[in-house]
Symmetry: C2
Subunit: 397 residues, 2 copies
């Protein structure tokens, strides 16, 4: 399947960081197939709206801390300056540079906000009960993930080793490489200004605190997870790597793609209500070894990002600029729309056959997985997220 | 109960940060009731062993990154320089300054390593089953907590609001301030040099990666936890605040207090084995509103800190300098040795009566909780952790 091309015009202008091999990262916006270097524009006095030095470091956190007024001023200035293309000497071809993680991630939170995903996993793991646990429709279930191992697209992912479930109940665990290495197709938001410890961010104020969005592949070792997760949740089954797309699409670029979220029943508690349309119409796909194995859309998520942020702070927890909040696996109701292999293969029962005859339940060493996202038509997207890709390395010795 | 006094001699020399009110933090070691300012010693050329500037910032992370050889050189230099007391102008009375959090915490992990605590909670919540889940004796169960809300001793703790369990099964949750606000008495370690993503830290190498220890109060809202925690673990029930003691006691100061850990049955997997004695003989106490309500000792923890670190990295997760790993609640087998109110009051069934007649199951607004730790005799400790204290503020509007 070819990459999605287009979708990186002036209406998008996503933020990231690039570097020539071995050199320090420089902040940039992507325009077409070039990275426009923000530090260079700033040095030439071509940007207004942000304090000197904001854009000269390797990460976006200082910009994130400034807040929406500054982001809008900068975006307006960039759209004006770049209307006729980047000034000479201010842009580099993406083929000449590497992308780098443009964030110092403070905390990483992962939600579980797809009704279809939660239902699928409930059916697999609790076949005799209600697939949804009693809390699911009342709050966006979430947990803290690992910030240190958030990596940028292209970073190889080493298969984790660990304790795998005993062959029979009451037996001893087996030590070895995960045999059920999976992906999770997710959308994540990156925060701007935080709140003081002890206060909450109202759902209605989410847009003041959310800078933009990335694609997230929350790599998961299902066998490690099954053995470790009771009673405190996933730990080593998730912490070995979380990959993000390199270009953070600003919320401002997604405004035309805000759509109504699915109806919620029961109506959520007051603190989880936000007027307006807060689902995002973003088409998504999962490619495994060159074959698209799933197609979905983020608009089907049950819990919206304002609800996620309001919930995460209702207890007074402080957000900081550069936190990452991921949606949880995005799965749809139809066949071929699930965002994980455990769902696509129904826990391995229904393997996938690739066009060259190879069969997959979970990931094999050497497999490359690419997630893509865009708004509008795949052939000519209005706004693109590009992709997040990773290749599995064999487990260590 | 009086504070523990003493234990801050040359054999301890714990690291922290202090500031005059409204001023920037300065790194320091504690000697008696004074903070010896490390930046000042460095400026005067009185310290060797660490690169210039390492100690001039507000946090210890640059020192943590240097590793054990540098730490030992610095400790040796300090012990020599301070043998006759601090040079004039290099120390401030603790009564003249505030303590500050001396770390930029990267990731915060919380374990569940006390057999007695896990058994107590299992008995309360699963009265009809085995109190220990099948994985517990095979691995140190843990999860990621919130780094942004790790606060230094003395920081007030606002009672969290959130969704409380429905009155009856199948009912709707109730929104309001937590009614079951609890403490957790824990010991935490702070990391030094990390490992590369995709590699593991062997249990035998833990001492190269662990800088020192603090007391941790992992405040917990039991009602929020009970409703939210399935299937992904604690989230808002813990993320509102985690308090740490201000002075990081170096592992070097604890060497004389390394003792054998409790026997482990079954023998753990190879990667969890470390020769030598790795339990720490640290006496602990919990004071509630001026009354000591629990006395314990960290030496009873089932899983040791080298095992915790080896487990947390066996999947290739990278540690960074300044990560915090807490033990989980430390409870003993005898009455009055549990490290949480839910255990001390058996989920509220057996309230505590304070000397002035006030009754407590969980914490009331205005309550002050102080955890203390020391090695040796309480009256004249060889090494002290000092204390971590916090007072409960009423929930927000």
């Amino acid at each position: 399947m070819p990459s999605v091309s287009g979708g990186f015009g002036l209406d998008n202008l996503p933020y990231g960081a690039v570097a020539r091999p071995g050199e320090p990262a420089q902040l940039a916006v992507r325009l077409g197939d070039e990275a426009v270097l923000l530090g260079e524009l700033e040095r030439r006095g071509l940007l207004a709206g942000v304090p000197a030095g904001t854009l000269s470091g390797p990460v976006l956190n200082p910009l994130l801390a400034l807040g929406r007024d500054a982001w809008e001023a900068l975006r307006g200035a960039l759209q004006e300056r770049l209307a006729d293309g980047p000034p000479a000497g201010c842009a580099v071809a993406l083929s000449d540079v590497e992308v780098r993680l443009p964030l110092a991630v403070g905390d990483y939170v992962d939600f579980y906000s797809s009704l279809e995903h939660a239902t699928n996993l409930g059916r697999m793991f609790r076949p005799d009960g209600d697939p949804l646990l009693p809390n699911w429709r009342h709050l966006p279930v979430g947990y803290h993930g690992r910030a240190s191992s958030v990596v940028v697209s292209g970073t190889p992912v080493r298969r984790p080793r660990g304790q795998l479930p005993p062959a029979e109940p009451g037996g001893a665990p087996v030590f070895g490489p995960s045999q059920r290495l999976d992906i999770e197709l997710e959308l994540g938001f990156v925060t701007g200004p935080g709140n003081a410890l002890g206060t909450a961010v109202p759902a209605s104020a989410a847009a003041e605190h959310v800078f933009g969005f990335v694609l997230v592949n929350d790599w998961s070792a299902r066998d490690i997870q099954r053995w470790e997760y009771q009673p405190l949740g996933p730990f080593l089954s998730k912490s070995f790597a979380t990959s993000v797309s390199p270009w953070i699409v600003p919320l401002a670029a997604l405004e035309p793609f805000r759509v109504p979220a699915p109806p919620q029943d029961p109506e959520p508690l007051e603190y989880l209500r936000a007027s307006g349309d807060w689902a995002l119409d973003i088409a998504l796909e999962v490619e495994l070894e060159g074959t698209v194995v799933s197609r979905g859309n983020a608009r089907g998520l049950y819990w919206t990002f304002p609800q996620q942020l309001a919930h995460a702070t209702i207890n007074g927890t402080n957000v900081r600029p550069g936190d990452l909040y991921a949606s949880g696996t995005i799965s749809g109701a139809e066949p071929g729309t699930a965002g994980s292999l455990i769902e696509l293969t129904w826990a391995g029962r229904d393997p996938l056959t690739l066009p060259d005859g190879r069969i997959r339940t979970f990931l094999a060493d050497g497999d490359t997985v690419t997630l893509r996202g865009w708004c509008g038509d795949r052939d000519a997207p209005a706004v693109s997220f590009g992709e997040v890709t990773g290749t599995i390395l064999p487990a260590g010795p």
